[in-house]
């Protein structure tokens, strides 16, 4: 039940169960959610989407294009896209967690309260 006026967040996660669960949960909490199964889909979504997301939740190990490569590609995009804050969903610390766009990291298994804190901070 998305609240009107809120900018969406982009959830990038290859595992369907996780992706779908998070999407439903965030939607229930009133946040509009865009989803992508990998980095390439996420870039597509950013380039073609009508609305720029307020936050990207990014898994790292994904088929086709992983999180780290996605962050590198994102740097080549227009400034408004580059400026989007990213929270990495990761089991381990990684170069991606030190990327300038990365503002936070949520360790797996994901704690929903922690996730919602990050979402609230950036999506209101």
């Amino acid at each position: 039940m998305a609240s009107p006026g809120r900018r969406p967040l982009l959830l990038v996660e290859d595992e369907p169960d996780i992706r779908n669960s998070l999407r439903d949960l965030l939607a229930d909490a009133g946040y509009p959610v865009l989803t992508a199964a990998n980095g390439r889909e996420a870039l597509e979504c950013l380039r073609t989407g009508a609305e720029r997301p307020a936050l990207i939740l990014l898994d790292l190990m994904m088929p086709v294009m992983g999180g780290s490569t996605f962050l590198e590609r994102l740097e080549q995009e227009p400034d408004d896209l580059v400026a989007i804050p990213v929270v990495v969903l990761s089991a381990a610390k990684d170069a991606a967690t030190r990327h300038p766009a990365t503002v936070g990291r949520i360790e797996k298994p994901i704690d929903l309260d922690e996730l919602l804190d990050w979402v609230r901070r950036y999506c209101g």
Partner: protein, 674 residues
């Protein structure tokens, strides 16, 4: 020693006899020409002179007593003197007294010339030493000759006597010296001296027999039997034969080496040098000799030989070892950088035969350009710091091949602390390097596996954890009304994720069982077609969830004797793989049977596998995966192959990039077909 001394006395008289005979023969020559001093101023002195000359005597005539004394004092060697009783200025008596005072006149036979009216004296000084004859005047030639002859004969006898006495003295002195010397030598030497009378068989020894060989003194005079019995039994025959040859033959000198028993029963290794004395018929009568104990010397020689032998063997062993270990040894003389190296060294640089010269430039020229500076720097630093180094570098052999060498060196300094040498070894490290890189690769693969495993395990865990949290929220009072509707779906998902988790854990357990060789098969007879259908039905929902389809092409039952659970696992793994890499395209399974074989294929229409990866994917921890294609532990195909090999079957893949993959499984049926 007494007998030995006697021997000298007995031996020497023969020589002495010879000497004496010679002296008698030579004596006339000693006195020739015989000289006689005549002291007279009478006119008939001419007659006297003539008579002398007739007898072959050389007369010297003086007219006064003074002249006579003067001639005698001059040391002229006269056989006799004829003195006139009437001399001017000196009485006859006074002159005789003067003559007797002279060294040469003391024992000089004298003729006294008496004139017709001269007083006939009967005694003259010195008469007890030398004869005095009266010669009357006028001179009667026969009488004069007779007197002169007597005087001269007397003198001749006297002189011979003197000579003999002197000779004897000389000989005795020499003998005494010789005997003394012999005694000294006998006492001083540690050699055993013997004197063997071959006629009586008596043997005399010097004290060395007691002092050096420990025998009691009463054995110093023993017999041949004692000597013979104390020769080592093994040497006795040989020595005795040699001795027989010596005594029977013409030789005088003899030498033999043998073992001679000491009083304590031990044997001395001796060299015996002897000399045989023969009589005029050539028959051996005595034998003298010295027995020298060479045990210590022989022992030293043996020790030296052994030491040399040990050293040589050590060298040989070292050489064999360095060759076997492919280790070369080298030494650099620092002042001029001249380099010594062993024969193995150059071989390690690819030269079958050693190069004529080896310099630092030779070394660096062989070293791979990328390693050259490092090698040079390591050596330079070791010299500078008087330390040691160990490094590995690549060398280019003349045949173009690249080899790894490991070299270690240590700097040696002189007393002033100047670096003078670097000594070290070089060995072939190519194999070590290969093992090292294999190990590194194994560690890398393991680390990657751990990283993947943790990701793979965390993914279902994350999903389950999320689903559990969502269910909890849905059941809370303030949850949205429709939240509870999703719970059954979430539980299904959880169920699926738990199964996935279990499968991962099973795979990991299988891996460790396979690694330990503990994966046992439980064989039963079943139909592969039926099993394939069952697995496909079970997996269909999962496969269809990712947008793919599954089809089975099997015409008839294919019965075989296999482990049902493991073949099930093979199918699941192959289908999971096909789904993972099949990019959502249809997956086709076929099952066919021949009388002895079953054949199962799984085809996907995915991205395919590059040729170079086709073998690798069957290995543990290996995946074609990159970041772009994750999923799975990289164990699936490894486990499949291991299971099939346990069944004495096989798996291979036919694939090309972009054209999908066809996995072909061949299984012997194990029992005759239906």
């Amino acid at each position: 020693m007494k007998r030995l001394a006697r021997f000298h006395l007995r031996l020497e008289p023969r020589k002495a006899g010879l000497a004496r005979g010679a002296a008698l023969d030579e004596r006339p020559a000693d006195l020739e020409p015989l000289k006689v001093l005549i002291v007279s101023d009478r006119p008939d002195v001419e007659e006297l002179v003539r008579l002398h000359r007739e007898m072959g005597i050389v007369p010297t005539v003086v007219t006064t007593g003074y002249q006579a004394v003067k001639m005698l004092a001059c040391g002229d060697d006269y056989a006799a003197a004829v003195v006139d009783v009437r001399l001017p200025a000196m009485t006859n008596l006074a002159l005789v007294a003067l003559i007797r005072n002279c060294e040469h006149g003391r024992n000089l036979p004298l003729g006294i010339l008496l004139g017709p009216g001269d007083e006939r004296r009967v005694s003259f000084p010195g008469q007890e030493n030398a004869p005095v004859e009266l010669i009357r005047q006028p001179l009667e030639p026969d009488r004069v000759r007779g007197k002169l002859k007597w005087l001269i004969e007397h003198e001749r006898r006297q002189r011979a006597l003197l000579l003999e006495r002197a000779e004897r003295h000389r000989l005795e002195t020499a003998l005494r010296q010789s005997e003394l010397r012999y005694r000294m030598v006998g006492a001083a030497t540690r050699d055993l001296l013997y004197d063997w009378d071959t006629l009586t068989n008596a043997v005399e020894w010097n004290r060395a027999l007691c002092d050096e060989y420990g025998y009691p003194e009463d054995i110093l005079e023993s017999d041949f039997g004692f000597w013979y019995e104390h020769i080592h039994p093994e040497d006795r025959g040989r020595v005795s034969a040699a001795l027989d040859r010596l005594l029977g033959g013409p030789e005088s000198r003899w030498e033999a080496t043998y073992r001679f028993r000491r009083a304590d029963g031990s044997y001395a290794e001796v060299v015996d040098r002897g000399y045989v004395l023969r009589d005029s018929a050539g028959k051996a009568v005595r034998m003298f000799g010295a027995i020298q104990d060479q045990s210590a010397q022989r022992q030293a020689e043996r020790t030296l030989r052994e030491r040399e032998e040990r050293f040589r063997r050590g060298q040989e062993r070292l050489q064999r070892a360095t060759r076997a270990a492919r280790v070369g040894v080298w030494e650099i003389d620092l002042p001029d950088w001249s380099i010594w190296r062993d024969e193995q060294h150059d071989r390690l640089f690819g030269h079958e035969a050693p190069l004529p010269e080896w310099t630092r430039e030779t070394l660096l020229a062989h070293v791979h350009p990328d390693d050259r500076e490092r090698v040079r720097a390591d050596q330079d630093r070791a010299i500078l710091e008087r330390g040691s180094y160990a490094h590995e570098f690549r060398v280019l052999w003349p045949d173009g091949s690249v080899h790894w060498l490991a070299s270690a060196g240590r700097t040696e300094c002189d007393a002033e602390g100047r670096a003078v040498k670097i000594i070290g070894t070089v060995r072939d490290a190519t194999d070590t390097k290969a093992i090292e890189s294999e190990l590194r690769e194994a560690v890398r693969a393991r680390d990657e596996f751990l990283s993947i495993a943790s990701h793979e395990l965390k993914t279902p865990l994350t999903a389950i954890s999320l689903q559990a949290q969502i269910i909890r929220r849905a059941t809370q009072p303030n949850a949205p009304a429709n939240a509870i509707d999703r719970v059954p779906l979430l539980v299904d998902q959880m169920d699926r994720q738990v199964r996935r988790l279990a499968r991962l854990v099973d795979d990991m357990l299988d891996i460790s069982r396979l690694a330990l060789g503990k994966l046992a098969l439980h064989l039963e007879t079943f139909d592969l077609t039926e099993l394939a259908r069952e697995v496909i039905e079970r997996m269909a929902p999962e496969i269809m969830a990712i947008g793919s389809t599954l089809s089975l092409d099997a015409e008839e039952p294919v019965i075989g004797h296999w482990d049902r659970f493991r073949i099930d696992q093979v199918l699941v793994n192959l289908l999971t793989n096909a789904a993972r890499y099949g990019e959502g395209n249809p997956i086709e399974v076929t099952v066919r049977g021949s009388p002895t074989q079953a054949r199962l294929t799984v085809r996907d229409r995915g991205r395919g596998i590059a040729h170079e990866d086709q073998e690798r994917i069957f290995q543990r921890f290996e995946r074609v995966a990159s970041e772009a294609t994750p999923g799975g532990l990289g164990l699936g195909l490894f486990i499949v192959r291991q299971i099939l090999e346990l069944h004495e079957g096989s798996i291979r893949v036919e694939s090309a990039l972009g054209q999908g993959s066809l996995f072909i499984v061949e299984l012997p049926r194990g029992v005759p077909g239906p």
